[in-house]
Symmetry: C2
């Protein structure tokens, strides 16, 4: 497209790679950035670089963190006998927002999805298993994957994987409508789903 | 909000300042950036910084450019006797997309809008006047501001401002529905509006 100078076209293209940002929206964002004060643009660029540079996975639960251990894992007030397994850090944030769960988490960073070529080996399951071996105090693993087909399959897979260890494996209740994403569930529904969890 | 680490919260906040990006979308974008390859994130940050650093206003028409003169102004094949006045660089890009206009542009960078405390002195009108004085070859000024109330008022204001100079002042036709933005008009409508321009 020749209607923009190369640097603007480059900015539009970079913004267009973000999820849910089409070409028109990318143009709008690009021109907003060009119009905005230079401090705002630099703050955005720095936020991206800083986050990318300093954020890595928690050594215990694989959540995003800037320290060795994330805030949840390093908090002695949390209940270290319960681990809630979630698909993504965003699901973890959604769980935290209900202010009812006091245990720890484990972030899988994905679900089993043969259609997308995502097998169990792409998830943080090895980390979960060695974590359970190192921490015999863990007495319950709550499976809080999405209630989609892939989330259900992943929950069943993890439950079967943990069976030999004898640790209690529970699944959050289907208070949430089937097919919905945890991230977008309202707090009440999510709290009910946590309370009504059942043995797998 | 304590559910995210400071750097992630900072990134979400920076993304949330972009137009049309709410808190949920900002979260989605932030986690996409954290998941994405480091090259993609760096490319985005660099694109923002580079564009912000190197892009400034064209010395003639006030369009965004990385050179002294923008591509249109520095193109000897363009018709230098006609100037099309637009509100923003995005409107200029929309005009370029119809591939029918061969003249030059002048970007006002805004419209007269008393409700938003935007008077005529905030627009690039001084630049337009001195440009017309320096370039007596200009024989027509086409007013292609949006067909909103503010755009109409701005067109009338510019027409009255240029009256003493005796230069022909035209307004693009109201082929576009009233209240619509030039940026989002389809090419055919915009081309018809350009062809049917009338004297003011």
């Amino acid at each position: 497209m020749s209607e923009y100078s190369p640097l603007i076209a480059n900015l539009i293209q970079a913004l267009g790679k973000l999820p849910g940002i089409g070409r028109k929206t990318a143009q709008r964002l690009a021109f907003h950035i060009l119009d905005a004060p230079v401090e705002e643009a630099e703050a955005l660029a720095q936020a991206v670089l800083q986050a990318k540079k300093s954020i890595h996975l928690c050594a215990e639960c694989c959540n995003f963190t800037e320290n060795d251990l994330c805030e949840v894992c390093s908090n002695p007030k949390r209940d270290h006998t319960t681990i809630c397994v979630v698909e993504s850090p965003r699901d973890l944030a959604a769980m935290e927002r209900i202010h009812e769960y006091k245990g720890l988490y484990h972030v899988l960073h994905g679900v089993i999805s043969p259609m997308q070529n995502q097998g169990p080996e792409t998830l943080k399951l090895r980390e979960l298993l060695s974590r359970l071996q190192n921490h015999p105090e863990v007495s319950e693993v709550i499976l809080a994957t999405n209630s989609s087909v892939e989330g259900e399959a992943t929950a069943l897979y993890v439950a079967r994987l943990l069976k030999p260890s004898g640790i209690r494996c529970t699944r959050i209740a289907h208070g949430l409508p089937m097919g919905a994403d945890i991230e977008y569930a309202d707090e009440v529904t999510l709290a009910r789903a946590l309370t009504g969890r059942t043995d797998l």
